[in-house]
Symmetry: C2
Subunit: 738 residues, 2 copies
């Protein structure tokens, strides 16, 4: 009992005589708690936001009476992980875990379960209707005259979600008195897309290798898989597409399906289903067939058998994600069929098993379009109404490709008969990779709150995505994961916030990103307002800063070719015009910007008229999208009163200045956070500062060759001549497509 | 002072009134020590053998009087890291760090330094002669009538090595009374070869990505680099070749040299020099020249300028490792020059800066040889005496390629005028990758102790390598690193032992591998004899087990093509005969084995006559090399009295049985080690068991098609038919050449 257990090892019991023995006997519960802490972690970020370090003593005293006893059944795997998480979390936060009891017998009991798993809940008159399969409520009640807290749901996974919410209340220092919380997810499928290859390379990954060690699966189940599942469950993510959308058909072979099944077994207790990216030509590559034509009965039979084989191994398999006829991937068009033909064929074989097809709308044809912006809309809108009801069309937030800022994709609102799934990018392909502090919450929020006007004012993208606008039974949000083998999971400490905010907004697309940022900071770093406030300010200003120093005023797609690292506004030539920068910025001696107005490519007309009118008008278009929709003279005036050229330079400089402000702010927070994380973030901010300057200088040097205008008063000239920037090469930058 | 510091964060001081306050005030030094422990790690293997967990209380009491005070100057970086390591190590092991003092003032002082750094050492009459630049002594002395311990050296790095030795004494529970230890390395260059590409892919790497994050260097210096340096310094490794021998010339560009210089800065305090693999054609690839002819004055000038550029950044740069004219790499032969021409040209430009060239002898020509075994000898022996004196020729331990067991390379002893550097492989390319428990110490030891008879009996490989046989001024041992980003560094817990034993044998090639194994087990896991003894037995038997279940009786090169994962004795065809298995085993209806006798390829004659005679004689050749040197009938008798066929099957089965014994032994050690590491090792042993069976079954099924003999009584037939094994494919097995 009094053995000092440090880090899980039993050390021999010291003699109980003498001074040490007397001291040992005097040892209080507090010491025991200290010694029995779960194995402590270095402050390396591995724990993410599930960082159950002891709360301030006053908070512990305040919370303990509410959490004296835990009544949580543990007869299913999901029940067990919920109970373990509560014991771990409360034990860490409070310094001692609550006593576990089969039934409430003391003040401060916490009851966690469903009416089926915990009969004591049945008599409390809890209104569980409307919570659905995944919702929960947390309520302060009285039981036999004693105060108690219930975390109740209709399903085990609902109770698990509620358990994480309860822990979050402590982590964010919320009161536990008079609780009356109800939560149910507004979106059904909340899914991570891992762009992970079978050799563990991660496309657009900046945080090490794939966390899936395919070579050692199914025999070795890395404990990290469990921590991955915990983190996802804590924010309500309920699906994971394990492999890259640029898919390898091998994943569908028996050897790999055994590995997938093993992972599914780890994730299942946490309410997470696995999905796979299916290569459309798999019947040819691993099936020995000479076609993958979706209307060919033999092809259909192959997929039907494959689905049966998968479900025999993984009864709750989620379904397929498909990237077809895009960037060289095979698809139904190779056989003269439509996207609907392809999606429906797969949907047909999955339907009997309850699976779905997530069919990506990120397509562009082999021919170079006059404006790539228009292509997905052009191809998909005519298909609205022709998809089976277990098909979702997965649409990137904007029409180009995860640029620092894009207007919402014109498909949102334009396919009312089809559930449109949002595809956000969590990994920062175009946003500085892992090192730049860019909190994506405001970007996600901006898109979700954008009004499509599809069914009149208030037809926000969020309402399209959650299915409420058009009354869809299924709905989904996908995020391209930023998770890898790096110790801190996401490549940097602040990039964890992007995983977090993605999950929180997938659960509730109406949350505001500032609230989520504050929540995350409190859970991850510190609840000290002197820390929380400036750090949240850093986060909330960080996206605009990146837009400013990379692609201000609606510029886009100006990154280095292929790897997308650093500025490359001069990129031209190569296989396709729409893979160059000059295609997008269209700078000339006179002006800059892509004319997508009715007198240009007319992409604006893909938006509902009230939106199109605004985007079409250079005076009314949000200035952040000015050059996205308009080609404007260098000397034209913008709202600040500056010329376009001056404003452009001003915004580049403003972005750099914002990073400098973040550096100063962070330097001032030394001592508010452990030295280890403070140091890494400080170094990463220095990299961001250097690269922001590089972006500004290279971009200004380049665009000045067109504008031939002087820099505004007080603006420093680029550090190097343009040729210096153009000569930089990064053949080994991470994340490029293999 | 009484703040409870947990994991480096300051928590608010709890009120000092009340029960908690009284308890706090009663808190003893022991509690303080517990609370102030360096950030505790999960038992995930990250700490390697530098695992400074508290010793048993009795041991602590025994050691503390010897370690009451630390007198260690800290005015140079190396002095500082030595002092920090001692404070960290002693603090962890003893529960409290010794007091730091400028001069010894109490009993139990530990003095660490050089006569220059610590004048108190000067008067002690220590015999530091003969310790050289890197040696040290540890001695119990009396100072002003008080017992003390000195760790003295001629250099800071010697004192650092001595500090690690002192810690090792505690970790292995050695007495600290009457110490009188002298240590100096027997080999000058003790170098890790990282086969790491610039995109972080590791060739033959089974432990994640390269630990060098080139993309974030030089701005972000991962703390892991420091822990890497600590681990290496603790075993005396003093050099690291940072990039793959299949080299990319980019490493020599200014952008990468800035990154290399940053790493050199981290490693320098630990006595570790950086080296680079130089691509011989770099003057063409990054220099814009149209030749890399080593006799071309412009090429020579390019390299001279490049060397100057490197040394301007890295004054203690170690030099170049070169793989030339081998497996497609460019080299001097491309320009009609010899290996010596190439090596000497580079040596010439490095000499003024003190650098060396490590020129690899692992070569084979474009033409298929009658016996690849002979090629390195054939090409290099004629060059003996023609290399500059700062050239070492780096020779793999055997003539083929890091097979599970090879006879020593015939070059050892055959080039007396040239320093021959040993190249061992630490990563287990042909030995089960990361999962198989195979301790390489006995394999290294077998080679080092092999007698070349080059200068009469006793001319061991160790004496060739350490330079003592032929009186060379420089000497070296290289190990192809098994280090990656995996949390446990090496892909498995036991693979850490191979890094460890490599370093220890590089320091002293006459150490025996069992002693090193025991040392490692005590430092890494537990000093409990009930644990140490069986685990050392597992380790010591593990290499023979792997040889048995993979390539018994001298068979070799039978692995799957390319990736080398699993059995592929049937591999034939493809670009070169000497890249197939059938080239090496030469099984026929009548017999099996490669006839390298005087009536065969005559490779035996590359050894000194006393060795050649033994290898040439099927009755005298060690049975472990029988089929390496002889083609033998299936029905011939071996020493056991069995037929060759029966013995082959017997050895395959014996290998599997040994793994089963390891499994049982390990299962019985549950509770002697933390659950986390016990579990992973248990799972890895299960993989090893499965794969050993696979090796046995596939090999027997295949060779039986030649022998057409029944299995011996009691031997189970293969689980599957041969075609099953031949059909297995592993396109994404890790570590294959890119």
């Amino acid at each position: 009992m009094l053995h000092t257990t440090v880090n899980g090892r039993q050390h021999p019991r010291p003699g109980t005589g003498g001074r040490f023995g007397r001291w040992l006997r005097r040892m209080s519960v507090a010491l025991l708690a200290l010694a029995l802490l779960p194995v402590a972690q270095a402050e390396d970020g591995y724990e993410l936001w599930l960082r159950y370090r002891p709360l301030e003593a006053g908070q512990q005293l305040r919370y303990r009476p509410h959490l004296a006893q835990l009544v949580a059944p543990a007869s299913t795997p999901t029940q067990r992980v919920a109970r373990e998480e509560l014991l771990r979390g409360l034990g860490g936060l409070l310094g001692q875990a609550p006593a576990v009891a089969d039934a409430p017998s003391a003040a401060g009991a916490v009851l966690v379960g469903t009416p089926a798993s915990l009969p004591a809940l049945a008599g409390l008159g809890l209104d569980l209707e409307g919570l659905g399969d995944e919702g929960y409520l947390i309520r302060s009640v009285e039981l036999d005259g004693r105060p108690a807290t219930v975390v109740a749901a209709n399903s085990d996974v609902g109770a698990l979600y509620g358990s994480f919410h309860l822990l979050r209340l402590l982590q964010t220092r919320q009161p536990l008195d008079a609780l009356d919380l109800r939560q149910a997810p507004k979106v059904k499928l909340r899914v991570l897309n891992h762009w992970d290859d079978l050799d563990r390379y991660v496309e657009r990954g900046y945080s090490g290798q794939s966390i899936w060690n395919w070579h050692l699966l199914p025999d070795w189940l890395d404990p990290r898989y469990t921590d991955y599942a915990r983190a996802n469950a804590s924010i309500g993510i309920n699906g994971a597409v394990l492999n890259n959308v640029n898919a390898n058909a091998q994943i569908l072979t028996p050897m790999y399906l055994a590995k997938v099944a093993a992972l599914a077994g780890v994730l299942r207790p946490y309410g997470i289903r696995v999905y796979l990216s299916a290569r459309f030509s798999a019947p040819m590559e691993i099936g020995g067939m000479d076609t993958a034509d979706p209307l060919d009965p033999a092809v259909q039979r192959w997929w039907k058998d494959k689905a049966a084989e998968i479900y025999a191994r993984i009864p709750d398999f989620g379904g397929f994600l498909v990237k077809a006829n895009s960037e060289g991937q095979p698809g139904p068009q190779d056989f003269g069929r439509t996207h609907a033909d392809g999606a429906n064929m797969l949907a047909e074989v999955l339907a009997p098993h309850g699976g779905v097809v997530m069919w990506r709308a990120f397509v562009y044809s082999h021919e170079e379009p006059d404006d790539r912006h228009k292509q997905a809309y052009t191809e998909f809108v005519p298909l609205d109404g022709s998809f089976r009801d277990n098909v979702l069309v997965q649409v990137k937030n904007g029409a180009i490709d995860f640029q620092p800022r894009e207007p919402f994709h014109p498909l949102f609102g334009a396919m009312p008969k089809t559930p449109l799934m949002m595809e956000f990018q969590i990994t920062k392909e175009y946003l500085g990779f892992a090192t730049h502090l860019v909190y994506l919450g405001p970007m996600y929020e901006e898109v979700l709150r954008a009004d499509t006007h599809a069914a009149g004012p208030g037809s926000t993208v969020a309402k399209v995505v959650d299915g409420s606008l058009d009354g869809h039974a299924i709905s989904g949000i996908a995020g391209v994961a930023n998770i890898g083998t790096d110790r801190n999971w996401s490549g940097s400490h602040f990039d964890q916030a992007n995983w977090y905010v993605f999950g929180r907004l997938a659960w509730d697309p109406y949350l505001d990103s500032r609230t989520v940022a504050e929540e995350w900071v409190r859970m991850t770093f510190s609840a000290d307002p002197a820390f929380v406030e400036p750090v949240v300010a850093m986060m909330m200003g960080s996206h605009q800063a990146a837009v400013d120093y990379m692609t201000p005023l609606g510029l886009h797609h100006l990154m280095g070719r292929g790897h997308h690292y650093g500025p490359g506004p001069w990129v031209e030539g190569g296989p396709r015009a729409d893979w160059t920068s000059v295609y997008y910025h269209r700078a000339t001696r006179e002006g800059i910007g892509f004319d997508r107005t009715t007198s240009g490519s007319d992409a604006v007309s893909q938006y509902a008229p009230p939106v199109a009118e605004v985007f079409n008008d250079p005076e009314r278009v949000p200035e952040d999208f000015l050059l996205w929709f308009h080609h404007r003279p260098w000397t034209s005036r913008v709202s600040s009163g500056r010329s376009l050229w001056d404003e452009l330079v001003h915004r580049y400089s403003r972005g750099v200045a914002q990073v400098e402000w973040m550096q100063r702010t962070w330097d001032g927070l030394r001592g508010h956070v452990d030295a280890e994380r403070h140091h890494q973030i400080e170094r990463f901010l220095a990299i961001q500062r250097k690269e922001a300057q590089w972006w500004r200088d290279a971009s200004i040097a380049y665009f000045q060759t067109f504008s031939r205008l002087p820099l505004p008063e007080g603006e420093a000239p680029p550090e190097h001549p343009l040729e210096y920037y153009k000569a930089l090469e990064f053949p080994h930058a991470p994340g490029d497509t293999q």
